[in-house]
């Protein structure tokens, strides 16, 4: 059986026998993204349940968060989503240089986002707000839960930002080496999809953690 297939492969010109399935590749990526949605969905569910139980504690605890930092980080992620979406258009239009600049810009946005996050967490830790931290003893139950969810959800999200950036770096190298091109750009497409999902998760995290008044 296998020998037959190989014999057929030898006769045909090689270009036609490179197996490629763009829709299948995209579909696989989407299936993975949906598992991510449910992963974060479980956490959002937990958030909803506890916010329902402790509405006032959540409000009090949210005052500790800097709305400005959250808003700036939202702008940064939205802009990075724009730049990676545009990088795909650029690659398809054979504007390789522009595509590379846009991807580097996307990476920079991700990096600035993480730096903001670092300082944001740092301030909270300085204030003694971290699991088993000194400030936690004076807090009501609901506030402790709020900060627990804050660390887990923004932390998991930050991990996804790092994963997305790693993905983009790999794709960037492929583009530089002409392995990802204007006619074969599914890797870039899928890294874009992943990055947009990370953006969408932040779109929901932002009002739920930063905009409670």
């Amino acid at each position: 059986m296998n020998e037959n297939l190989e014999a057929v492969a030898e006769q045909a010109p090689p270009a036609e026998h490179i197996h490629r399935d763009d829709i299948g590749s995209k579909m696989g990526m989407w299936l993975f993204l949906l598992t991510e949605v449910l992963l974060f969905g479980g956490l959002f569910l937990m958030y909803a349940g506890y916010r329902f139980l402790y509405p006032d504690d959540f409000k009090a605890a949210a005052l500790e968060l800097n709305t400005m930092v959250g808003t700036i980080n939202t702008f940064i992620l939205l802009t990075s989503s724009l730049s990676i979406a545009m990088s795909i258009v650029a690659l398809r239009r054979e504007q390789k240089k522009l595509c590379i600049y846009l991807l580097v810009f996307t990476l920079l946005c991700g990096l600035i986002f993480l730096i903001n996050k670092y300082y944001e967490w740092g301030t909270k830790i300085e204030h003694g707000i971290y699991p088993k931290g000194p400030a936690m003893e004076d807090l009501a139950n609901g506030q402790v839960v709020y900060f627990g969810l804050y660390y887990v959800m923004t932390g998991l999200h930050a991990l996804h930002v790092i994963a997305g950036m790693t993905f983009i770096i790999f794709v960037l190298v492929f583009i530089v080496r002409n392995k990802v091109t204007s006619t074969n750009y599914m890797k870039l497409e899928n890294s874009g999809l992943y990055w947009h999902l990370v953006d969408i998760i932040w779109i929901f995290l932002y009002p739920l953690f930063y905009l409670i008044h």
Binding site: D22, F52, L82, P207, I212
Partner: protein, 96 residues
């Protein structure tokens, strides 16, 4: 073989930039509305705006709008599953 490697979705820079302006505008609205006390609908308003933003990102940046129906069915199943879990959780919490 070429069937599965379609190069459709025709969105260009202009459309993406328009969508970005929309997203930034909605963020500004949701941030400023949060300062006003709308009472019990504050959370609903914030979530509606977030859902609108997610729809914009999904439909245009992730070009779901131009995707075949299979993708839309996938995503609907996922969202409905999540909503069922949400409803079940709250039906438990509310009637304890």
């Amino acid at each position: 073989m070429a069937d599965n490697n379609t190069q459709e979705h025709t969105a260009g820079y202009g459309l993406y930039i328009m969508v970005w302006f929309g997203l930034i505008g909605l963020t500004l609205i949701t941030a400023s509305v949060a300062g006003i006390n709308l009472g019990s609908i504050t959370l609903v308003v914030a979530l509606m705006i977030a859902a609108t933003k997610a729809l914009l990102v999904g439909n245009y940046f992730m070009h779901l709008k131009f995707e075949s129906r299979v993708f839309k069915i996938f995503i609907s199943v996922c969202i409905v599953t999540f909503l069922i879990m949400l409803i079940l959780t709250f039906s438990d919490l509310s009637f304890r």
